[in-house]
């Protein structure tokens, strides 16, 4: 697949003014709610420290905790599978379903299954898959990927949803009312949940000590997906393991406060064993995680608990929209994760950042996100995943700026050329700076020349040219 041009996609998102403004204001509100929530917890920074250290410890002893989890889960009556990559994961899911002649599946939101493109895999094999998270269902009906890992359809306005439901369900498109729209969705989705042969969820955490998986949700759809059908499948990324319930408490306190400013969600559900007369399968999925764990600079992104605080605070994400990244994970955390999946396709993402550092400072598990973004840029250069024109500009800049004499010549000619060029020559599509901004006017005299004229003799300095 070709390289994602995030900058170009973002420009299109901005051009359509409604959505950019809507998303910026919605997410900034969540950022301020996060601040308020953190303010009400005096030990907030200690919690972040603790969470970071728990993750670091668990990731450093991952094999131990994974094996503990597997044995406890098995003892609870759960069937545990291991999947090395997305394809193997999807095969396992399909095998479980087809062996039991289950042709319909309801699932709650899971970024891991997005990562594995599980829905498409199953649909291509004749299985009806229904997303039950409202936002994810909206995106499914609109044939779009999630644009945000917590609110998959947050880039859409209520009117967008009303239009979509009118098209798909024949509801009233003039009623752009969230309550009405939620009822429309409920009426159409509930029967699918009741009839489904199997249910699937992801996991926010997997507790090694108990062998339980934990989901943190608001709509109750994960509980319905997990409990309504007798057959239940849960996909878990390897990095979701934490040692004990005591550790879980630290993350529960941080997760929703960081995500939306809520102290806790409506449902924090622990699933430990199959329901009566039912079956429960847990698939532990690697899909690149163990090789990322071996990357000296980039392993810390495995600490991520998917709260999306980095996305909400990111000034670039808020103005670009999540779809612009063309990836499963987007925004700051996406920038540092996605190149581990496909370095060529996501080679431009590390440049979609001003390196302002806000993401790092809201991250509840203290991932040094903006430093990793910077480090990825160097990797892209090393691996030659670099636009040629940018590379050439950098070579010229590097040459000029390392030779004082060349630099002075360039300074003189820039002053002259910018002064004599007519406006149309300055502002054209070759000049990215000038598309939305005026170019600064070069001074009549550089500081260097001023100093030479007024100060160098007094300072007794040699003039270098």
């Amino acid at each position: 697949m070709s390289t994602v041009d995030q900058a170009k996609n973002a420009a299109a998102f901005i051009d359509d003014k409604t959505h950019e403004r809507h998303l910026d204001q919605l997410l900034w509100m969540l950022r301020t709610k996060r601040d308020d929530a953190a303010r009400r917890v005096p030990e907030w920074e200690q919690l972040r420290d603790l969470a970071s250290k728990i993750k670091e410890h668990t990731l450093s002893n991952l094999a131990h905790y994974l094996e503990m989890f597997e044995s406890r889960a098995k003892a609870n009556g759960v069937t545990v599978h291991w999947a090395q990559d997305a394809h193997e994961h999807n095969q396992i899911v399909y095998q479980i379903l087809s062996d039991r002649k289950a042709d319909s599946l309801v699932k709650s939101k899971s970024m891991l299954t997005e990562e594995c493109d599980t829905r498409r895999f199953l649909e291509n094999r004749g299985i009806q898959v229904t997303e039950t998270d409202l936002g994810e269902r909206i995106q499914q009906l609109d044939d779009e990927s999630p644009s945000h890992i917590v609110g998959p359809a947050w880039h859409k306005t209520t009117q967008d949803v009303a239009n979509l439901f009118a098209r798909v369900y024949g509801s009233d498109k003039n009623k752009a009312d969230p309550v009405y729209l939620a009822h429309v969705m409920r009426e159409h989705t509930r029967p699918l949940i009741e009839q489904a042969k199997a249910g699937m969820t992801g996991a926010n955490f997997a507790v090694a000590e108990t062998g339980a998986v934990v989901t943190v949700t608001n709509e109750g759809n994960a509980d319905l997906s997990a409990n309504a059908p007798a057959l239940r499948i849960c996909s878990v990324g390897l990095e979701k393991i934490i040692p004990t319930n005591e550790h879980l408490a630290v993350f529960i306190r941080l997760l929703t406060r960081s995500a939306t400013g809520m102290a806790i969600t409506q449902y924090t559900s622990h699933f430990r064993a199959p329901r009566q007369n039912g079956e429960m399968h847990i698939i532990l999925v690697d899909n690149g995680r163990s090789s990322r764990l071996g990357m000296e600079k980039f392993w810390p992104s495995l600490k991520c608990i998917r709260c999306a605080a980095c996305m909400n605070t990111c000034p670039v994400y808020r103005r670009s929209g999540g779809l612009s990244y063309g990836s499963t994970y987007m925004g700051p955390i996406g920038i540092i994760m996605m190149p581990t999946f496909d370095i060529r396709r996501y080679s431009e993402l590390p440049f979609s950042s001003t390196l302002n550092g806000s993401c790092t400072n809201v991250c509840p598990v203290k991932i040094n996100i903006h430093e990793q973004i910077y480090a990825w840029r160097e990797v892209m250069e090393e691996k030659h995943q670099f636009k040629l024109v940018k590379k050439e500009a950098m070579i010229v800049a590097g040459k000029v700026l390392s030779h004082p004499r060349l630099y002075r010549m360039a300074a003189d000619s820039m002053e002259t050329s910018l002064k004599v060029l007519p406006r149309f020559a300055l502002y054209n599509h070759f000049n990215a700076w000038g598309r939305h901004r005026d170019i600064p006017q070069p001074a009549k005299e550089t500081f260097h020349d001023w100093y030479k004229k007024y100060r160098s003799q007094a300072a007794g300095q040699e003039v270098s040219r």
């Binding site: 000034p315 001003t354 806000s358 910077y374 070579i395 700076w433 901004r437 001074a443």
Partner: protein
């Protein structure tokens, strides 16, 4: 005290008056200022773009020009951050480490090293919106950041400006959100950069500020370009110009 003055490339070319104000201000404070003549740039543009190979020679030149000095001062938070924390394109050497250990942003040099608490020659009777760069806030710690809600609130640039009689500080929304400059980002992702700049200007515009003052001219260069394009010319000043008392 002897200080080597580092003038960022964009200040040299576009805002020499900021360089002059920095020099004059340091001289007023009885500092012996040396301007190494063969200086060009800190190499941040290339390094920030991921191009270490291209940054190396420029960093080596910087080391050659500046490693003899115990204090290097520059009116730029972003150049300071590069020189202090990201100055790794040139091979490691005692000289390179000395440069990183000796560099100061003008604000922190005045505030923490010279501990200047008065500017008797300056006055500035205007409504001022103070913009502090992300490099200065989250990189150098020159001001508290909104993300760290339990930290004590402080701002070193504001502490300095408060010593200038007449300034009426105005508040604006999202004061420490990035302005959108971001170095090479401002060209590679120009649409988002400009939108961030426009939004910043909208917030500042609502505050009723007469002047936008910052210790980073690169943010101001970007914001000024946005303001001109929007037909809402904005008066911008570097903090050195206000503290030096030339702008009144």
């Amino acid at each position: 005290m002897q200080v080597a003055l580092m003038i960022p490339c964009y200040v040299d070319l576009f805002y020499p008056e900021v360089g002059v104000a920095t020099l004059e201000l340091l001289e007023k404070l009885k500092v012996d200022v040396v301007y190494p003549f063969d200086q060009t740039c800190c190499a941040q543009p290339m390094a920030n773009g991921g191009c270490y190979e291209e940054a190396r020679a420029t960093e080596e030149l910087f080391i050659k020009n500046f490693s003899a000095f115990d204090h290097i001062v520059t009116p730029s938070g972003s150049c300071t951050l590069h020189l202090r924390n990201k100055f790794t394109a040139a091979p490691d050497s005692p000289e390179r480490r000395k440069v990183s250990a000796s560099v100061y942003d003008l604000v922190e040099f005045l505030h923490d090293v010279l501990r200047v608490r008065e500017f008797p020659w300056a006055k500035f009777q205007h409504k001022v919106a103070l913009h502090t760069s992300c490099s200065a806030i989250r990189g150098l710690g020159l001001a508290s950041m909104s993300e760290r809600v339990h930290d004590a609130k402080f701002s070193k640039p504001k502490n300095l400006l408060e010593q200038v009689p007449g300034i009426d500080f105005v508040d604006f929304e999202r004061p420490d959100e990035c302005c959108g400059f971001g170095g090479t980002f401002s060209a590679t992702e120009e649409a988002v950069a400009a939108k961030m700049g426009y939004d910043k200007l909208e917030f500042i515009g609502k505050s009723g500020a007469d002047y936008l003052v910052s210790s980073d001219m690169s943010c101001l260069m970007h914001l000024q370009g946005c303001a001109h394009r929007l037909g809402a010319p904005l008066k911008v000043l570097h903090i050195a110009q206000v503290l030096n008392g030339v702008a009144q």
